[in-house]
């Protein structure tokens, strides 16, 4: 029963957050760095060669470590570090040990950031499900960005540790977290939370109590909210929902739309290129699956 959700989050733990990471950095460092960060964010998100990002991003991980070392209690810097480490660990680290190390650091940074802004979060590591859910109630919109970062880093961590059953046990907490985030996210809501919710809610089939119809609504919200520009939402809709319910027509339609779409969309190019790679694999394996 291991690896219940191992590959499913890889592509959706995409690169949407990089802009937040780097603009987050920008608010903390000099104006010169602000420009650098904004330009870098744009350059990465619009890069069409994932290998180039894989090779180049580690330098910025070290840069963020140096910021954290200089301001270990600054939640904004910690959150920025958490996000970049989570992204790199989940998406680009093919080696399991590296993914584990990188996402462990991501979660540690995210946990420390949450602890700085919301005292009950300092006890989350040992909290029962009920205690965790109760502590979410105290979170307000001003904490939403940190909550999202903790959820994002946690998902990356759980994916990297999917052979550990403790990860399986934590999934309901992360689902509760993103549910609360959607309640308090307001206008600044990160759209990828919809895709994460869709993925979490399609881990369990309806015959075992899962609620894929609610998941479908989340996937569709993610697609609508980005005007269909974020192709990873469609890929996860196909992989999570259509495969779960053996709806081949929907599966193939979504993936063919992804393949036919222009991946060069501002802010989504890199994740779209990777989504198209995934879509091609899923389509090729369709006959075998269905």
């Amino acid at each position: 029963m291991k690896s219940v959700f191992s590959k499913r989050f890889r592509s959706a733990l995409g690169l949407v957050m990089l802009s937040v990471v780097l603009s987050g950095c920008a608010s903390m460092i000099s104006s010169a760095a602000t420009n650098l960060s904004k330009n870098l964010s744009s350059a990465i998100l619009n890069q069409d060669d994932p290998e180039l990002v894989r090779a180049g991003a580690p330098s910025y991980l070290l840069l963020l470590d140096s910021f954290v070392a200089g301001s270990p209690d600054d939640p904004a810097i910690l959150a920025a570090g958490a996000t970049l480490y989570a992204t790199y660990g989940a998406v680009f680290a093919d080696d399991g040990l590296r993914a584990s190390r990188l996402t462990t650091r991501a979660r540690r940074y995210a946990g420390t950031a949450m602890c700085e802004v919301h005292a009950p979060a300092c006890d989350w590591a040992d909290a029962t499900y009920d205690e965790f859910v109760a502590s979410l109630d105290g979170l307000r919109p001003r904490n939403a960005e940190y909550l999202y970062t903790y959820g994002f880093a946690s998902l990356a961590f759980l994916v990297a540790h999917s052979s550990d059953m403790n990860s399986l046990a934590e999934l309901p907490k992360i689902e509760a977290l993103f549910n609360h985030y959607l309640d308090i996210g307001g206008d600044e809501l990160n759209i990828s939370a919809y895709t994460f919710m869709g993925q979490l809610l399609t881990l369990m089939p309806p015959a075992l109590g899962g609620k894929p119809e609610i998941a479908r609504e989340f996937f569709e919200k993610a697609i609508v909210a980005t005007d269909g520009k974020d192709l990873s939402a469609k890929v996860e809709y196909a992989r999570g929902y259509a495969r779960l319910l053996y709806e081949r027509e929907l599966h193939d339609r979504l993936l063919n739309e992804v393949m036919a779409a222009d991946p060069y969309q501002d802010g989504y190019t890199l994740s779209n290129i990777m989504a198209q790679e995934d879509a091609a694999e899923l389509l090729a394996a369709g006959d075998e699956y269905f």
């Binding site: 029963m1 205690e131 881990l203 369990m204 075992l208 053996y246």
Partner: protein, 349 residues
């Protein structure tokens, strides 16, 4: 010469016509196991290997996540030929072969070691019985013991009295056993159990730890009682008529590969179950244990209930006696030692 050639051709033609024809066969198999689990990955890998080794003559397609409906529906689909088999638990096919109920009789076993001793002696007979009932199978994968999970501590018989306990649909043995323990059995589909625990419709469920984790029931319980309540098994069964459409040589390949897959499950499952039990404790769930006297008391109640179920034809008396005989044999071999209180956690190691 020409006549001779014609004769040869005619004989050859007659031979070809009389040979059994084994066209490519597709076996559609249903299971409730969710996609993206290791089980499903292993089953799909086995199917891929079978397809390769039979040069595409045998294709196995799996329909996971219970998408083909509940057990009754799956059996109905097998009868009409839209499915050829399924991955089942014992209860499901007990209607076709009652002795599948034997391993799952409540508190019939004290430990995994005891189960192993009995299974070594009885598995082959049960497998053959299932084949005789019309279902080709590839051995049993033990799923570990279902243990009690609750919102209030349970460590003696009195703690159970009047509590509402979940019983799976169609599981008449569990229903009768829970009644024998003065519990109030509530029959619900699997899909409604989590809500049942949340709303107070249920106080207690019994399931192996790995099941509780996958189904997320661990979010709604506070205690586990480490009592080896019900030993669970799972297996794949394919309708014999469908299987016999495969050539004998290809049947052997299917059996070889699927036997190995189920042997692997049988080895891995207890380890996973043990890991899952530890995870439940990591999540803040408390472990309860029955003291020896309390354990013997509850076992005595269930032993009587089990016998009564046998009298009602829930399993054959001969096989039950044989199983109980092996259990007694195992216990007598252990008799030199003073038996420690039953401990599922140790038993599963």
């Amino acid at each position: 010469m020409e006549l001779a050639m014609k004769k040869i051709l005619l004989v050859a033609l007659a031979l070809i016509v009389s040979l059994p024809v084994h066209a490519a066969v597709t076996l559609k198999i249903a299971t409730v196991s969710p996609e993206n689990t290791q089980w499903m990955r292993d089953l799909r890998a086995s199917a891929a290997e079978i397809k390769t080794r039979t040069d595409g003559r045998v294709v196995i397609k799996f329909y996971g996540g219970g998408v083909m409906g509940n057990d009754t529906k799956v059996l109905g689909r097998i009868r009409i030929g839209s499915l050829q088999g399924g991955a089942f638990t014992a209860t499901t096919l007990a209607s076709q072969y009652t002795d599948l109920n034997l391993y799952g009789l409540p508190l019939i076993f004290d430990s995994e070691e005891e189960v192993a001793y009995v299974r070594e002696r009885l598995d082959a007979k049960l497998q053959q019985g299932l084949e005789d009932a019309g279902f080709v199978n590839f051995g049993f994968a033990g799923g570990g013991f279902a243990i009690l999970m609750s919102n209030t501590p349970v460590d003696e018989l009195a703690d159970l009295k009047g509590k509402k306990v979940w019983v799976p649909e169609g599981d008449s043995i569990s229903y009768a056993s829970m009644e024998a323990l003065s519990l109030s059995p509530v029959t619900l589909p699997l899909t409604d159990v989590l809500t049942g625990l949340q709303t107070g419709l249920l106080d207690i469920v019994a399931i192996p730890p790995i099941g509780a984790l996958v189904l997320q029931w661990h979010t709604k319980i506070k205690y586990i009682t480490e009592l080896p309540l019900v030993y669970t098994i799972a297996f794949m069964a394919i309708e014999k008529r469908a299987f016999e459409k495969i050539s004998p040589a290809d049947q052997a390949i299917v059996r070889e590969i699927m036997d190995a897959t189920y042997r692997k499950f049988d080895v891995v499952n207890p380890k996973d179950n043990q890991a899952a039990r530890d995870v439940l404790l990591n999540q803040g769930i408390k472990s309860m244990k029955f003291e020896r006297d309390n354990y013997l008391a509850i076992r005595a109640v269930l032993a009587e209930s089990n016998k009564a179920l046998g009298a009602k034809g829930k399993f054959s008396a001969d096989m039950y006696d044989e199983m109980v005989g092996y259990i007694a044999e195992f216990r007598s071999k252990q008799a030199a030692d003073i038996s420690p209180p039953p401990d599922v956690s140790a038993a599963n190691k």
